[in-house]
Subunit: 147 residues, 10 copies
């Protein structure tokens, strides 16, 4: 029985052998880079038809499509990530967490930005002083219930 | 000697009494909401003239301007934030951290998005299915050195 | 400037002096026991008119109404609670967490039960073998986005 | 010698192959969904006859029945769960833990809700604003001894 | 408003000044040493009449009786106690925890020893090879529910 | 080379196959239930002759006797145990730790109860309100040295 | 009511003002440096007469003698000490802990070195390659009980 | 390629089979018990000729000599050791850490005892009240630099 | 599919067999010791041509070159390193961290030293009082953005 | 009695009022910037004459000189620093820790770089691509003892 982790390894292997990018894999099934990458890393579930299409395009066994469509148990190892590229985002949450809360609640009221009804984009933006990365998150505003 | 924390309390007090928003405070000194809020919360340093202007506009003691312009020691209490509005961003880093790394490095090479040469915006976006929060981060791409 | 914590202490003091129950305090402002208690403990914000009414009924200073209506920063001290009455709920999440996930996702799809659009009731139920506590939680189902 | 963990994997495998739901597995042995799911996940012990029946119905080896009836050592990996669906319950305990204690003790006296003499139900409830999940817990009230 | 902690300090002060033992304080109100000591340390609630009697006998302010009868929030600072006298009990739980579980469940079935419907005694027992401490715990057996 | 852990698994296997209780295994070598169980779980060393006898009676390989008599390195995984049956003892140490210290030192002087020169019994005691578990610990009093 | 911590501060103050060494303080009451220092730091209890003598010699209030003779609750803040002088001992326990166990048990049998019936000396020893510190610990061997 | 851990297992195996003591192994290569034991446990590097001699005397493969002479990466699993024999030393560092610092610095100045230019002895000392363990540590005094 | 970890093991094996130093391996590909060593340990990515050259020179399989050029996920196990040689650097950060911040910001303004656009050298320097290690770090100054 | 922390606050206050730099304070007493700054932050002890000179030059009370010359207990709050400027050094230790160990031991033998017989410099170095920070550490090589 293939696990999510097994499928992630298979994707990495095929991606390296075929010299594919995440962008091309995502394009191949008509979904966004962020979502498809996270699904291949075992952190999201692809719709079943997209999962099957991805498995076919990468030449994975059919069972891989089933697995990619399963609902994942999202898990990570450490509260403070060590890899510098990931740590910087942890740092941003530490430095700007209370600011985000102040502004979300000033603009919308007592509530939060959903991390479930959520999407994200990552882009490279050319700039004369050195290119920049732009990360755009969008989540539905959810108001606290009072009862 | 006023501390960063003392000034944060003074700002909150004046803000509540005068019924001000972070948006209006930021506008008053011609800087962005995110940056000004984070500086008022002690997580960034305002340029000295902006700091003095903010102190004047809020009717804070002159020393507050000095303090708002000092370089902060950024500190937070827990690796896993408890407030739900902040936790959701921690969760996003946990769920999408490796995805961010994959895509940043696919688009730019072996490196990271800077959290120092960095800016961020928070906006409310109307939507028929319920308004959304949009958080846009932009950081300079920094390539790892090889020597 | 009164803090949430100061108001909690004032409520406890008045409650003890006047021999009030949480039930009667909640009834006095026409809201539920769970919500009113949590707001008095600083974990939720009362609607402004309810907050003022509560302050009046308990004989608290007017500022207490302002504070009770402010959006709280929800915080707790330890991941594993020590008090036995609270720990048992931590244990339930540990023992039944994966079961809850399996059943929520079997019944609704890939998503979660919201802890924001959420309400809860606590009741005592008589039983010949010894009375029971019934805790009923209700949260909106939120489906993961795919994009 | 099969372990609890081995049996959990066997159940998952059979469940996927046969396209079964937890609801149907529980119905098949005449017990509740929550209890049967938790037992299949290794967190509770089925009565021996139910365990054998479940093993037979799923086509598991006979030893699986023995294992499902054994008393488990309940264990989990992290105090703060990472999966969003489980984390929300952790958050509820953090936000409402002291409220639960206040109300249980107001209604019953100095004591706790048992997590041992305990049962739970999970249901989906249709609602015009979006379906809701209802989780109902019932535990025996236990009074602290004084001696 | 006196807190549990204030009353603990008052008891220690009176106990030292009057040269009292926990044994005599407990005898004075006709309850056990363990229970009365734990209540004075803020970890249990005395019945109201006993609390008032204890306050009178130690010459504490009347409010102390109210506080001693309040339901405590039981809390401790570290999972691993540092004081050697307390640590040894932590060690015993580490070394013998699984043994206790094996024997309790062999003798009674799938369940636990209650720490709520519970009492404990501590005694010194003379012995030629050196006196011994005997700690006797008694808790109601609670069987897991199956539903 | 058999490890302590290997022998524990062998004992469990034989115990299940032969339907043995810890009580009967302990009786078989004329030692107490608690001690023999803890030795089989790798937390104590049996005297060599008892270890050989136990190996013979359970039909274990001869090397198992050697291993059961070796001095163990006592180790456990988490400071806060998760299994409810074990956790309750952790809770008792948290709630009553300081009380135990007060009473041991009141009865004996400045010192501790040894966890090395130590024994323990577990018994089921019938009671009209529900059977009880009694755990009796006895450890030598050790006085702190002053020099 | 003076606490152990208050007395420690008083001792430090007097020691600095009078230019005293721990050696001379210990000599003044005829006990060892290590023991007297640890008692002044709140980690051991002086015999009552020695405590009174020390208080008199340092010119402390009479109550300080009472406090120095009280049985301390030994507590420290972090499992890994940060001060380099203390950390090196933590490191020694990490590096040589298992070695100590092997040799103690090879020389004496299944047991431990007591940290209660224990004494320690610290000395400076001249050496041509640079002076050395010698720390000598002596603790009673305690054998594990088998029952 | 043999690892340090593999060699430790080989040593234990040979030691058990041949009924050797650490004392005799150390004598066999003319070095101290503590050092040789710690090297066999992977916490120190033997000089190459001693390593080869030890390998020959125990009948280990030649590669074991290479490995025993390699510089180890010293690592341990938990900051608070669980085994009682090792824990007591952790406790001694907790209780006497500040005392050691006071006395080392009183005798030598601002500095530390080295844990690198360091040696240690463990001995059993007969005593009418019960034999004692003596642990003697000697480390070079290192003065802090000021520049 | 070879992992970074597999390649590290292969390098160690070849290095030991051929008696190579890190210095000679680095020289062989014309890069610095620190960078090449860190890349071989899986903490940096070699430029592809250098990676292939290194693989050839050490006689590693061709795939090793691909792996050495892949962007690593940098990870470590514990926040407080245990090996004494590594711990000393952790201690330096603890003792001098705030000093580094004061001086970097005094010399350059509100910003940090980059750990990405970064290089480091390690050298042995002869000295009459005993040789010294010199570690020289150089990182680009990055100024915080204000917007 | 002034504490190290009090003196740090006094230095900051005088430094701000007089507009002094750490460089000028260090120059004023003829010692290095890093050492003087760390001593003012409570992490090192100034020689007594330097301490008095510093106190005089900054116009601090005479007692401040005594305190600056006292041997500090070095302490920090978190193993993982949060301030970005300090965290980068923590990250460097994480990423390059094993590399440092490999190279130190290749160049010198089995030992470490001392953090006690240690000095450090921080400099700004102009560079056309952006100025750089250079941090140079020098510590005595200490060889492990074998005995």
């Amino acid at each position: 029985m293939l696990s999510k982790k097994d499928v992630t390894e298979l994707v990495y292997e095929r991606k390296r052998q075929a010299g594919l990018s995440w962008a091309s894999i995502a394009d191949g099934i008509g979904m966004s880079e962020v979502f498809v990458t996270s699904a291949c890393l075992g952190m999201n579930a692809l719709p079943r038809d997209k999962a099957d299409l991805l498995a076919t395009q990468l030449g994975l066994p059919q069972e891989a499509g089933v697995v990619l469509a399963e609902y994942p148990t999202k898990t990570w190892n450490r509260d403070v990530p060590t890899d510098p590229c990931v740590y910087r985002f942890h740092e941003i949450v530490g430095v700007y967490g209370d600011t985000l809360k102040e502004l979300i609640q000033e603009k919308c009221g007592n509530g939060i930005m959903s991390a479930i009804d959520f999407d994200m984009r990552v882009e490279r933006v050319a700039s004369p002083k050195g290119d920049r990365i732009e990360v755009s998150m969008s989540g539905k505003y959810l108001a606290y219930n009072a009862w």
